[in-house]
Structures are given as C-alpha cells and as structure tokens.
Subunit: 279 residues, 2 copies
C-alpha cells in the first residue's frame, strides 16, 4: 500500500475528517471520527491509521491554534501554523468588531480562493455556526456568524417542536417559513410554538415541521445578513445536504448562487497551505 | 394530624405541585415532585403522602385531559373535569386559529379571575412556554404562545453561549438586549453568536451572558406580542424570579404591570373549580 506524503485534517464541530494525501495530492484514504480538540488529535490520527510512519506531517485546520491573524488579511498559510509534534495546526481568523472568529471555516475559504483565485464577493458557509464572509482582492475583509445550525439541532434534540435531526429538508413548507421569518422576524418564538401546536393538535409530520423550523432560522439569518447578499452573487461552501435550503432560500430572493462542496474546499485549503500556495 | 378535605395538584412542564387543602381551603401541607402525565399521577400523589385516605378527591390542572373547550369561553369548571379514580382532571383550553392550547395555565388564569372577578385585559404567564391571554367579560378570548423559556433553557443546557440555567437575571445587560431584539429582531441568531464570541474571546461572565440571551428572547416576544400589550395594562402571573425580567422589559415600554404569584394563582384556580366558582 502506498504510504501517504502527508495527512490533511479538519477539526470541525461535529467531526474530525482525515485524508491520506499522495505526493501528487491525490487522496489515498480517508476517515471520519468524532470531534477532538488539539490535545486529542495525535491519538485520533493513530486510531484511524495505526501503521502511519511517525514522520508523516499532519496539516490541521480548526484546532484552535492561537494566535489568530486579524481580518482584513489573507487566509493563514503554513508559515503561521503552530507545530505540535508532527502536527501543523493552522490558526483561524479573528475579527475585532464585532468580536468573532472563523475556525475551520477559514481554511475552507482558503480552499475556495485557491480554486477561484480571482473571486471577489460573498461566501456563505452553512453549518453548526453559519458564516458569511466578505472577500475582496484575495483578502477576507469581514465576516458574521449565526447559530442557525446549532439552534436547529437543539430544537431537534429537545423534541421541542416535534421533529428529530434526521428529518430531511422539505422545500415548500421550508421556503414558506423563510418568507414568514424574513417578513416578521420577531415572531420567531411564537412561530415555533405554532409549529409545536400543529404537531400536537393536527399531526403535522416531522419532515415539514423540521423544514419549517429550519426555514424560520434561515429567514432570520437572511434578514440579518442582507447587507452581505443584497445585489451580490453568493458562493455557498456547504457539506452535501446543507447546501439546498440555503440555495433555495437565496434563489427565492433572486440571488445568484454557486455551490462548492465544503469537504472538498476543506481539503483544498489544507493542500494550499501545505504547498505554500494559500491565497 | 388533620386529614385534608381535598388535594390540589398542578401538572406543570417542569414539576408536579401538590397541596393538601383543609375544609376551609387553607393549605395543610405541600409537595413538589418531578413532572408526570395523567397516568403517573396516582402513584406520584401516593409517593408524596402514603397515608392519604383513598377517598380524598384530587383536583388536577395541566394533565392534558381532553376534550378542551374552545375559546372564547370561560375557564373550565369541575363539571368539565374527567374522572379517573379519585382524580378530577380539569381540561385545558383550545384555540382553533392559530392552533394552540393552554394547559395548566388555563387554571392559573381562572385563579386570577377568581380573585379579580372584574378583570378585563391581558394576562402574561412567563414560563417554559410563555402565554399571552386576552380576557374580556370573564371569558378567555384568545391567546398566543412563545417558546421563550424553553429556548433559554435549551441555550443554557447546551452551553451554547457560555452560561448555565442557574445564572440569575442581570438587569442592565438584559434590558439592553431586550431593546436590541425589539429593534432588530432578525439579528437573533447573529446576536447569540456575538454573545458566544464575547464569552470565548473577552471573558463575558455567565450572569450577563444569560441575561443577554434571555433579553433577546423577551425582546422578540414583546415585539411579536405588541398587539396584546400596546396601550394595555398587563397582569403578570409568574413564579418567583420569572416575573422580574418581564416586568422590567414591559415597564421599559411604559406598560403598567401588576404581578400575581403564579403558584398561588394555580391553587386559587383549582379551588375555584372545586368549589364550583370558576369564572
């Protein structure tokens, strides 16, 4: 079996993704593990691939390695990484006002810019925390975070409005809820209570209940992020099924959307950093 | 020891409250237990007071006993209760549009009306689900629910923005957040992310973080419930510390507020039903 040249690793909030990378940056193998912090990384890599030679470097995004460069700036390269054994921990990015950070998302943005070097505009990264990132002239200018994904997962876990987190996106009720929340955002906690009541009293199914709750959250987010997307085209950097609700909601606002696979952008960002070509 | 004439019981979402009531409706003893549904009631009462004579009637609110009378109507009396052994389960109230129910809150409203028989106006009941109830001529005309308390507890349990549910209300940051959410309600998920970032990056303490999150939720609620309170006086029927955030937020909007103890109103509502004097 071919030994990898290096390992790419992304510490995300819900999982740790690992790739064995060949000398030509092809993927030899991959693994997904429960999330870890920087202290747990070495053990997690060893548990995935016990026979990996000790010297193989591991390039890691999202492990919280300080200091974070402050925006506006280019995404961090390998020169700004913290060495920890064979680990090369890429920092996130910090913003002074409003106080905020990009974690693994900073490297996904770097990956998108490595593939689209002339890109100027807005990148939206849905996820546990969704991020809206304004990019200009190769620099990350500013960004904003929304707890949309975390809130939706919380509502599901708590069975608060009668659905679980495995319910797939149901577009018609979802988009209706986006509209509802954009039009009357203050109704959020009341609209949630109404969904819960319809589940209880009228047997509303888990699919539309989940989509309506997510639609409300995305509607709030779009209303608040309007300065980011109004009159812009938006690049969605998203994992699989996370793209569609945002794409549909933005297209309903007549915003042109291009979608890039978030997991591939994570790997491309790590590659760009490792090969010295970030940004 | 005096044997009780009857037992008053409230099935709330977070606890079951029980009172041993004397023939003159004085309280002989009381107990708080984990929440139960109708099926678990008899055992819960027996666990609290094993020596209670079998014949002692137990009058119960909030146990979900169907059918629910539909508003507009007076609060349900004992004649509408479901008998289940020695239990007399008072129904909640239903609303057709928007689909919604009042559970144990219906009996608290009945208690408030038993003590304030001429009351005409708006009753706000903070709690896991907060309720705004419009009362006129002794009838409950309409109501709306908000998941404010549940959402705040979820945020605390998930450590989503860096506080736990025991953090006390901190008025200055709390009221600032009420204003913030009333002014820009769509920013909710972004404002939460900002609180989380300030906890992480600037050491914002649990007290103000919790108060800001609750303030945002109350601000959303007040913005959406404005048709209920604008130009009205509001009666707050609330348990202990739940009253103050709502009182402060409403008074900041120049709304006159009277506060009634929620637990006492629960007992008064059960008494009014048992004695045939509901509404």
């Amino acid at each position: 079996m071919t030994q990898p040249d290096w390992i790419a690793a992304e510490c995300g909030p819900t999982q740790l993704r690992l790739w064995q990378m060949a000398a030509d940056d092809g993927v030899l193998d991959q693994a997904s593990l429960p999330p870890v912090d920087a202290a747990g990384l070495a053990q997690a890599v060893a548990s995935a691939w016990p026979d990996l030679p000790d010297a193989t470097p591991v390039v890691v995004s999202g492990a919280g390695a300080l200091p974070y460069p402050a925006v506006p700036c280019k995404p961090a390269g390998i020169a700004q990484a913290t060495e920890q054994g064979r680990m090369r921990l890429l920092p996130g990015l910090a913003q002074e006002k409003p106080a905020d950070t990009l974690e693994h998302e900073a490297t996904r943005v770097a990956g998108f810019l490595a593939i689209n070097p002339g890109f100027d505009g807005v990148i939206c990264l849905p996820g546990a925390q969704s991020r809206w990132v304004h990019v200009s002239a190769g620099e990350i200018v500013s960004f904003r975070s929304f707890l949309t994904g975390r809130l939706h997962a919380l509502l599901a876990d708590a069975s608060l409005v009668g659905f679980d987190s495995n319910a797939p996106w149901d577009e018609a009720p979802g988009l209706e809820a986006v509209d509802q929340a954009m039009g009357r955002p203050a109704n959020f906690a009341g609209d949630l209570a109404a969904i819960a009541a319809e589940v209880r009293l009228r047997g509303l199914a888990a699919g539309p209940a989940s989509a309506r709750a997510l639609g409300l959250l995305i509607g709030l987010e779009l209303a608040a992020a309007k300065p980011y997307w109004l009159g812009q085209s938006v690049a969605l950097v998203a994992d699989g099924a996370e793209a569609q609700p945002y794409r549909a909601a933005l297209e309903a606002q007549a915003v042109p959307v291009v979608v890039a696979d978030g997991i591939r952008m994570a790997r491309e960002g790590l590659r760009a950093a490792y090969r010295g070509g970030a940004a």
